[in-house]
Amino acid sequence: MRSILPPWKARATDLDIGIASLAPQPAVEAADVTRQATYSWQWLGVVGLIAVSGLYVIAIANTGARFEAAWAEPLFWVGLLALITPITLRLAAPSVPRTERLGLVTLLGLGLYLVKVLHSPLGFTYFDEFLHWRTYQDIVTTNELFTKNLLLPVSAQYPPLEIVTVALTALTGLPVFAAGVLVIGVVRVIFVLALFLFFERLSSSTQVASIASVLYMANPNFVFFNAMFKYESMALALLAVVLYTLARREGTLHTASLLRLSLVAGLTLVTVVMTHHLTAFALTAFLGLWVICGWVIRRYTATGSGPLDMLVLAVVTNLFWMSFVATRVIEYLGPLLSSAATEFVNLVAGRPEAPRQLFVSATGVAPLWERAVGLGSVALILLGLPFGLWFLWRRYRSQSAVVAMGIAALGYPVSLLLRLSGKSWEIGFRASEFLFMAVGFVIALGVVHYGLPGRWQRGRVLLFAVAVAIIFVGGIINGWTRQWRLPGPYLPAQDTRSIEPQGIEAAEWARIYLGPDNVIAADRTNTVLIATYGSQYVRTTLSGSEDPGWVMYAQYFGTGQRELLQRERIQYFVIDRRLLAAPERAARYYRDVPLQVAFYKFDHTPQVNRIFDSGAIQVYDVGGLVDGR
């Protein structure tokens, strides 16, 4: 086997030699350098201006969507393409300077973050954001970490995102939403830059690095899911920093620099472990793969190694954190992972327990063009992978990290399979934010070395930009429910679309007039509102409580229901009559009890007080049913 030494290994002796200085340095005059740099900055300025204009178009589309304009959705896609395509076209060119590439990649990463900010510019509206807001509130009100967050108990056991936000609000006096937007914005900058630097380190090519970064951003979770105020968003960015630092360390021979880089990587790794469970597990798994690849490669060549020390650190800190702090994580993830694993076996055998229909949401089947683009994006990725893997084998097979990336990319088809069942789709969905690091990198290798060079280069670049646009749009179609992409009028039981003033005001009323920390049960949307805006205790199965839905959706308050109220010490119910338009939510409790009948009982049962009525929402005091309160 041919041994190929990465270019920096042959020359680097110290960390303190920047990667730019490792590239061949032709003798150029200082004036030429300045002229080239000016030219590059001009390109960045023009391309960037077109891209950010896309954000303005998206803002108009969002506003149109709020007023139910038919043109809003097409305009949203136009804005998104205006943001992505000019940057893709420029990055596909081979002679673009590194600084410009870095600028464009950062601009795209931040621009895509702003797509989410423009969707919800006044406050948190996504379900997961409320879960972490509550953890933040608990830290501020109790002045302690690890208090029980009844919305998502495991969130309180992984608090670094909320700690940083607490620090920012305490120092600046900013409201939590503004602080959250700022923290996730900073996280986004770290993430895209660290990814670029990691890819650059592995490939020794800024073109590969920038294209891989763009392809990563096309993953279904990047635009909305990983832009939310949630622990995963921060952990992913730190994961990328760990990977880059370790890749940087691989090329460092100077002992002191090696130690300092190990310190940075170690501290960041420990923070990842404390920030988010799945990201910590994914990082540990990848480090394991990297080390194994290192061992195998070292048997055949003089090169190749792996970050064994960091793997050990990851395993030890994960075990420590799960044993002594995040004690609920097994209980939280265990059923999800085991169900996905079992269903994966069923899927392979062709007998899934809960087959899932693709492109179907609460508002019906997606239009034909969405289905075509969604499937087209998957097809393009699957088409690109073999070329990248082939080039990786030819050129990089002596580099353990790159080989590990190649193997990780093979997980993508598996994740697609997981999406075909209702029992495993969530794991498949979550996996994409990790797998796309490898997928993006591998495809970028193929694109840069087989796709872009050759005759008809302009045509090739154009074709590549079209392919990236399809992968991007398809990613959003595949990953994000249709009615959540743009804001709009209230929809019942539709997370972000169900957050509106009446629910928020009802929750704030509860905080002011009932006082905080009463035990209140509600539907999914009002549960998060009442727990955050309302500062109340809620009952959820995630927190180990019995499901209050068995009372809320029952025909009457029977003995079983009253006992459940007693056991869970439930004092109040929030009833949202708009749910009558989404009766399927209640059907899983009592198939034969219509929602109207279930709600009717609250007004016609002695000792149940209707203490609040705002039209759509009522609050009932059921304390009199169980203890004569």
């Binding site: 607490v166 900058v189 501290l267 759509a616």
Partner: protein
């Protein structure tokens, strides 16, 4: 400090200013935002990086990534330290923790720079080649983004939403259920006149024939319930709009207790 350490000087000044502001309880938001954001998200990482890698050739994107990431790491790990200290997560505690780390790291970085550990020369700055024209382009970027956010916020603020009025009926206290608080809060788009009546069955206990409320206004009253009320029938509180007097607009239900 020499000219090469202006960055450390600035970091030290911000950390000291923030410490002082926290100790004096300065509440000026603009000042707190201007100094608090760098202290929370940039300076601890930046100065630690400067102490660890005093050379100037770790630059541009790498420096930015490590500075920001280390700042998050420092704040996150620092939070665990504050959790076991008696001061908790107050502004003074944060300013003390992050300010101290910034000051100590700045000192170390300065010493390492001064002792010549940064052997490499100053590299070509990342901003080489930026002209007035390109600067204008970046100014336009920022303007477009600000306008986009403004449009999005305006759209969100003006989004049509259902107008509503809140009615509530609560015991005046946990111990005294013979007095109830009845309140109305309107979030309607226009001023509305309401009628409110409190009754048990067909027996009217009290009524308010006209309550005029402006948008956003609240009206509240306490009612002493008669002693002779039946406890087998609820008290109903009905709110009507005078423009739709035949429709019960909002309703509260309250069971008297003995």
């Amino acid at each position: 400090m020499d000219a090469r350490s202006l960055d450390l000087k600035l970091a030290t000044t911000i950390a000291l200013a923030m410490l002082l502001m926290a100790l004096l309880g300065v509440t000026n938001t603009a000042l707190r935002v201007a100094l608090g954001i760098p202290l929370a998200l940039v300076l601890p990482g930046y100065t630690l990086l400067a102490a660890l890698f005093p050379s100037y050739t770790l630059r541009g994107a790498e420096k930015l990534v490590f500075s920001l990431a280390l700042s998050l790491v420092v704040a996150a790990l620092g939070g665990f330290v504050l959790n076991v200290l008696p001061w908790g997560f107050q502004a003074t505690a944060w300013a003390g923790l992050l300010g101290s780390i910034t000051l100590v790291a700045s000192g170390l970085a300065y010493r390492r720079r001064a002792s010549g550990l940064s052997s490499a020369g100053t590299p070509t700055p990342w901003y080489t080649g930026i002209t007035v024209e390109t600067g204008l382009f970046f100014g336009l970027w920022v303007t477009v983004v600000i306008v986009a956010i403004w449009v999005a916020r305006l759209g969100a603020l003006q989004q049509p939403a259902q107008d509503f009025t809140q009615l509530w009926v609560l015991p005046a206290s946990d111990t005294n259920t013979s007095i109830v608080r009845v309140g109305v809060h309107t979030m309607e788009a226009t001023p509305l006149t309401y009628q409110l009546e409190v009754a048990q069955g067909d027996t009217l206990i009290k009524d308010w024939p006209t309550i005029l409320l402006q948008p956003g206004a609240t009206w509240e009253v306490q009612i002493a319930l008669p002693a002779a009320l039946s406890d087998t029938e609820p008290i109903t509180v009905r709110l009507y709009r005078l423009d739709q007097p035949d429709i019960v607009y909002r309703q509260g239900i309250f069971w008297p207790r003995r």
